[in-house]
Symmetry: C2
Subunit: 170 residues, 2 copies
Amino acid sequence: MKRTTFADMQCSMSRALEVIGDWWTPLIIRDLFIGVARFDQLVADLGISRNLLTERLKLLEENKLVSKRAYSEKPTRYEYVLTAAGADLVPVLMALTAWGDKWVRPAEGKPMLFKHHTCGNVFSPEITCPHCAGAVDATTVTTLPGPGGRKKRGTMVIAELLTKAQQASA
Amino acid sequence: MKRTTFADMQCSMSRALEVIGDWWTPLIIRDLFIGVARFDQLVADLGISRNLLTERLKLLEENKLVSKRAYSEKPTRYEYVLTAAGADLVPVLMALTAWGDKWVRPAEGKPMLFKHHTCGNVFSPEITCPHCAGAVDATTVTTLPGPGGRKKRGTMVIAELLTKAQQASA
DNA sequence: CGAATAAGTTCATTTATAGAACTCACTAAA
DNA sequence: TTTAGTGAGTTCTATAAATGAACTTATTCG
């Protein structure tokens, strides 16, 4: 049957996945960030099917991660540009790339490096806590229910589990 | 036809997506992190089809993000535990959640909060540069070709683009 | 014995993906 | 001034994957 929608799950990660959770979308965003912005270039770079690219770009536009801009009249030609929301996803994709570099790196080494222009260094992104500037990892973080927490599909078990854990610690 | 594999693309993000790039897998990892670890619990929490969950867990095990552990003999019963590689993905998913909190938050507010036990604060994860501790965003970072950069499907256009940009800046 | 629990399998139906071929509007070369 | 080429899609068919419900299997509890 049709794909289950994550849009109405009460979980920000699920909702994010509704927008970028399919195979090609993160690669399209990566390409737009790097500067591959036109339809045929995207097809050439990724080897994606043209009908799929059309569909994905349309969805990205509807979700306001990407906007379409004419770079030529006469033959009307468009290119695709990341919006603020789309650009804000770039660091997350960099963090995912860093994970890939660490765990599924090709034998030849890292395919791509990131350079931070604020300090001039080539770096590997880290995920940190803004309060203490320390690294965040699975062992030093716990989850708490937020104001939007609800028990529904996607959080049927989790919703109660978080509440109980909080009560136990209180 | 069958889904295009990203496993042989010369890009760490693509390779990461080969492992966690489908709809349900990130949610499964989220649940395992939070403590929903058994088959029927996962079905109940997510509303995922049982055959799909079986398939996803098998793939996660093959890719060494998850391991299966018997918690009962006699009726042999298993639960699923994140490996080091799987746990290392948790901060990335938290960063994605933070993006979701910012751009596609439910009307009721954040469904879930993170608490950093190193400093005791509830926080929203940030992606930073380990050299200067500054935030990383799309405007302050550029990409350079790495030693494993290659021109093949997934990087046909990008490979040359990065090389040219580097030569131009040199 | 009969019902319940946990962890899957099997199956029919619906939807998505892949890849190739085709369309349409213009432009540059012969 | 036909002819070929470019860019951005659309249309088409086959194959593969997702959904949801029903069915298995093994074991324990009342």
